[in-house]
Amino acid sequence: MRFDTVIIGGGLAGLVSGISLQQAGQQTAIISTGQNALHFFSGSFESMQEVPKRTLDLFAGAGIRVHYSPGVRLTPLGTFREAALSLEDTSLFPTPRFADKILIVSFAGYLDFFTSFLAEGLEKQGMSCRICVLNLPELEKLEQGPSEVRSVQIARTMDRIWEKVVQEIRALLRDEDTVILPQVFGLQDISVPGRIRQGVPARVVFAGTMPPSVPGIRTQMLLKQRLRVLGGTYLMGDEATRANIVDGKVHSIVTRNLGSHCLEADNFILATGSYFSKGLKTNPFSIFEPVFGLDVEYDEDRNRWYDPAFANDQPYMNYGVRTDAALHGLHKGKPIGNLFVAGSILGNTRPDLGSGAGLAIRSAQVAVDQILSL
């Protein structure tokens, strides 16, 4: 099967590339081994202190409501992290002291929303907190199960009964100016967080939970939908196993599901992520990139991969695939002319492109611009 561009990796970098190329008139295909890391999204796009208009347009086109407001985000453990661009339902504050009296609302039996950590962290900043736990019969059935109750299961129920939650909050509210809820709203119905905000007579802040991230799942779902609406192809649950390289250029790639039916394209983008998603693989003696065998920037001495202090920056998390200035992947030092690399697989080899979401978006856009200019 033939495409203009084949993108290996269906995460933020892959989706942004695919949507941008599709919009420019290309036929693209994205291959993704399972669901992407946006499922563990914090809600704010890291390393995006400046946001190009094309990025905002891309999100708007997909129906993803974001807001740009440099400041801090409230973390699930009640600390604050710098952020500038985030999803609409992930609040950003100019300073950590953003309220006077706060009502924290959670659900009985939900262990992944850390109310006591939140309260302690907020009180440290001079805000007073009251914690209320709702007992909803609709959630009782979930809790009976032998399985763990995660954000996604609660979110599915919440999409149906959010109005009841709003009523309960209204009844519980005293003189608090802010209500904090867990991010378990708006999984399928993206209007729910906004409507909750309208229904509660106080500011509503949605604070993160332990993954899976409901806003993250929603965001990637919208990005995938956008790609599909634009005519792109998303091959879910497939894995690129190797590449056919002819005369220094990628001719096609082989995938596990399609086997002998190779995917041919003029250009390829490798956005397979880092260790978690197996964009980079490791064994006791090496770190390597499994699809194209691209050069990886890493220390040959395994003992230097780690810092013994967990809290410190870990060297292995900075390793990544080597590229030239135009993000062509390097193979034995030589750039492969039609292969571009984007996203966290770059590690920290391109500090100019930032990290996290910022790296994914910026590198994707560099790759896209390169491809379209050819």
């Binding site: 669901q35 979930l142 809790e143 199960g145 399985s147 002998s260 039916h261 006791p284 003696f285």
Partner: protein, 405 residues
């Protein structure tokens, strides 16, 4: 291999990172919170079962084997295979009579064929359904598929000579559904392939692929079928050099993946030559073959990807073929499970869950309101026709309808 150069484990369960994404996408857990969920049933459970087989949880029987957990897993863990293979290894409960009946499609097909009209009439009667509900616990609300009076094999055999005359040949693994219930689909496939200059031949006595036996605790019987089918397939692939095409996504997945992964039956000699017909046809078109389509075929078609097709990753071929037909207004439905899960949805204890799982899909179909729902799986067809009230047709049959005479 150097020590620890790579690691291996049964169905890759060691690679599980505990991210729980599989559990988020399990259709069973969404309607039945008492199901442990794929992570607990699969990789979590495997470690405990290795400690003590007592940790095997009989609730694993609620797994529909839809494979969506595997499709969702970012680490490539074969979660569904872990669950099904645990059931095979640890659950030695003798299957009930009902389950044997539901799983023995070959046998049922052969028995009913001579009296098909009577059977079809009876299984539609309320009183018969109530009896089956009471005695066998087959839910009375479930509609039964109709049986054909003449098997597909008999029909194709009667056209053997004319098929053999075609310059190119393929073998066709037709499966129980085409053979006993809906030979028209097989005839449509023959028509479409003939239009490409390809003749169709039968395999040397195929048996039911065995998928229902695997999930109903009859893995020994399923293994006998597997061994037999691989031998038969080898005759076609290795001896005659033929490609073998299929029209059922579940049969295909079973022959290609479940045989080696769950039953330990080696199919490496034939694996790569087993293709869904839509993939085979697409590849021939890519290589230069052409269809002539009618100019008056105007249909609004919504394509539903069956779970096992999603797992195979081949819906792209069916989708592209349908889009090729001029006059087709094509919609790709959001990937969702229809809920029937083969024999699963026939069982009284599962019926409600089945319908609850499929409801979002039915709603979506109603909102799209197509003329036809296209789908490569026969049990999805029964489910959608019964629950949403729309006609469901296999993409091959749609192609056949759309071809110019």
């Amino acid at each position: 291999m150097k020590l620890q150069e790579y690691t291996e484990s049964r169905h890759n369960f060691e690679e599980c990172m505990k991210c729980t994404v599989c559990t988020a996408y399990c259709p069973v857990l969404q309607v039945n919170p008492l199901y442990p969920g794929p992570k607990q049933a699969g990789p979590d459970g495997e470690r405990l079962r290795l400690k003590d087989p007592w940790f095997f949880n009989y609730a694993l029987k609620y797994c529909m084997n839809c494979k969506r957990c595997e499709v969702a897993c970012p680490s490539g863990v074969r979660v569904a295979d872990l669950i099904q293979s645990a059931r095979i290894r640890y659950d030695h409960t003798k299957p009930k009579l009902r389950d044997r009946i539901l799983a023995s499609t070959d046998l049922m097909g052969k028995l009913t064929r001579p009296v098909a009209p009577v059977v079809n009439g009876v299984t539609g009667l309320k009183i018969a359904k109530s009896a089956m509900d009471a005695m066998l616990k087959i839910d009375h609300r479930r509609t039964f598929p109709k049986y054909s009076g003449r098997s597909f094999e008999a029909w194709l055999r009667s056209h053997e000579k004319e098929q053999a005359a075609f310059p190119e040949q393929v073998a066709y693994f037709h499966g129980c559904y085409v053979n006993y219930n809906h030979p028209d689909l097989g005839k449509d496939l023959v028509k479409v392939l003939n239009a490409l200059g390809v003749g169709v031949q039968l395999l040397d006595h195929e048996k039911c692929c065995g998928i229902a036996m695997i999930t109903n605790g009859m893995s020994e019987q399923a293994t006998r079928h597997a061994v037999h089918n691989i031998a038969v397939l080898k005759k076609a692939v290795v001896d005659k050099g033929l490609t073998v095409v299929t029209t059922s996504s579940s049969c295909t997945l079973t022959l290609r993946e479940e045989y080696p992964n769950l039953l330990g039956v080696d199919n490496s000699a034939v694996h790569d030559s087993l293709l869904m017909a839509t993939r085979y046809i697409y590849e021939r078109l890519e290589a230069g073959a052409k269809f002539r389509f009618r100019t008056d075929f105007h249909k609004k078609i919504a394509y539903h990807v069956p779970c096992h097709m999603e797992r195979l990753g081949w819906s792209i071929f069916s989708e592209r073929l349908l889009r090729m037909i001029p006059g087709v207004e094509f919609t790709l439905l959001d990937s969702a499970c229809c809920g029937i899960a083969g024999t699963y949805g026939f069982k009284k204890e599962n019926y409600e869950a089945s319908q609850a799982v499929g409801e979002p899909l039915f709603e979506q179909i109603r909102s799209v309101n197509p003329d036809i729902v296209a789908c490569d799986c026969e049990t999805c067809k029964w489910q959608i026709e019964m629950s949403a009230g729309y006609s469901v047709i296999n993409p091959i049959s749609i192609l056949a309808q759309a071809l110019a005479e």
